[in-house]
Assembly symmetry: C2
Homo-oligomer: 215 residues x 2
């Protein structure tokens, strides 16, 4: 397809697409004349991933480039690539834990991963943004005096396992390897507000249910 | 306790506490002399809630004031208050859905709530920030061409129900009514990065598990 069709089908302006091409986020099309290039379905998919990361994930362009380089790292096998791309996904709003609380939070997080038997995360965990985000969150809970022991975190981890199985089912539904990895990253980011909003609605629901049961 | 003790125990500077007092986020202490006031445990708890909302939830002060006025609304019964405070909690990063996608997303969200039997949200849903956040997230998924039918969302909602039961157990562990509502709001915000980071680690774990099963 030509640039105008890529723009229409992706809902992204041609100026924005040209910007992504210049920044190296989107690979060049196949040059067919001095002024025109031909783009593939893979360009459309990549464009959707970029928009998921910038618009919903609110990641800056430099960070998107980093995420895409993980996505494109073909030196890894497929499942490690999916895991690594999600695992390395930066998160905008993690709090900076201070030193003292962070050590205790790190111990709590390690105890939790051990209890869960999450071997992959336990072995390689400490280096990942996802793990740093967990430690930061636990440190914030501790610092503010809310429950943050491994036993408190365990039910959240069990729910996360259930969500991850759903995520991987969805990802496995895509046919080719490239599509799967792009979907893994995009859906991780795009389903985050789905999950958080449903949790808030479910809390209101559950609080209401407990009230009805009492009265 | 005096201001200095409140500062030490909360890990918040006296200047910041005075700012919160001036802005009406924190109720005044009991005046004991021309220059000194006495603060209670309730001040310490309120201060923790304010820090959870500003530091982890990244809410601006004006929004925190709004959330606290819901928390303090004693015209409602306890369970409705907990539900309403969480339900009305603003969320910083919801995307703005455009008109066309939003109508479809709204229909999907309504179908989901009906399927779940979430009567509280279904009846009052459309007005809440949590519901708007869900619609915005569904619209973004649709716009970018990722799965976003009610059937795709249902497993996430089931996991959210499980999380909400854990949340309400934690909240019920607090003794008095004020503490419960403050904990409901603070833990909703503080456990969000816990849940999102655990989901990412669980995805890496699950992807790794599927790989091992195949090889």
């Amino acid at each position: 397809m030509r640039l105008t069709e890529l723009s229409e089908r992706s809902g992204t302006s041609t100026a924005t697409i040209k910007y992504y091409l210049r920044e190296g986020l989107l690979p060049s099309g196949r040059r067919i004349s001095a002024t025109q290039s031909e783009y593939e379905e893979s360009h459309l998919r990549r464009l959707r991933l970029i928009r998921a990361l910038t618009q919903v994930g609110r990641l800056p362009v430099a960070t998107v480039r980093e995420v895409l380089s993980n996505v494109d790292d073909t030196s890894l096998d497929q499942h490690t690539r999916i895991g690594a791309a999600v695992w390395a996904l930066p998160h905008g709003s993690q709090p900076d834990p201070d030193g003292r609380e962070e050590q205790d939070a790190d111990r709590t997080a390690q105890a939790l991963l051990k209890e869960l038997g999450w071997g992959f995360s336990h072995a390689a965990g400490a280096a990942s943004p996802a793990y740093r985000m967990l430690v930061g969150a636990v440190a914030a809970l501790r610092r503010l005096g809310y429950p943050a022991a491994a036993a408190n975190l365990l039910p959240y981890a069990r729910a996360a396992e259930q969500v991850a199985r759903t995520d991987l089912e969805l990802i496995a539904g895509y046919e080719d390897a490239e599509e799967q990895i792009e979907a893994a990253v995009a859906c991780t980011v795009l389903y985050e507000p789905v999950l958080l909003s449903l949790r808030r609605l479910a809390e209101a629901e559950e609080s209401n249910r407990r009230f009805s049961a009492e009265s």
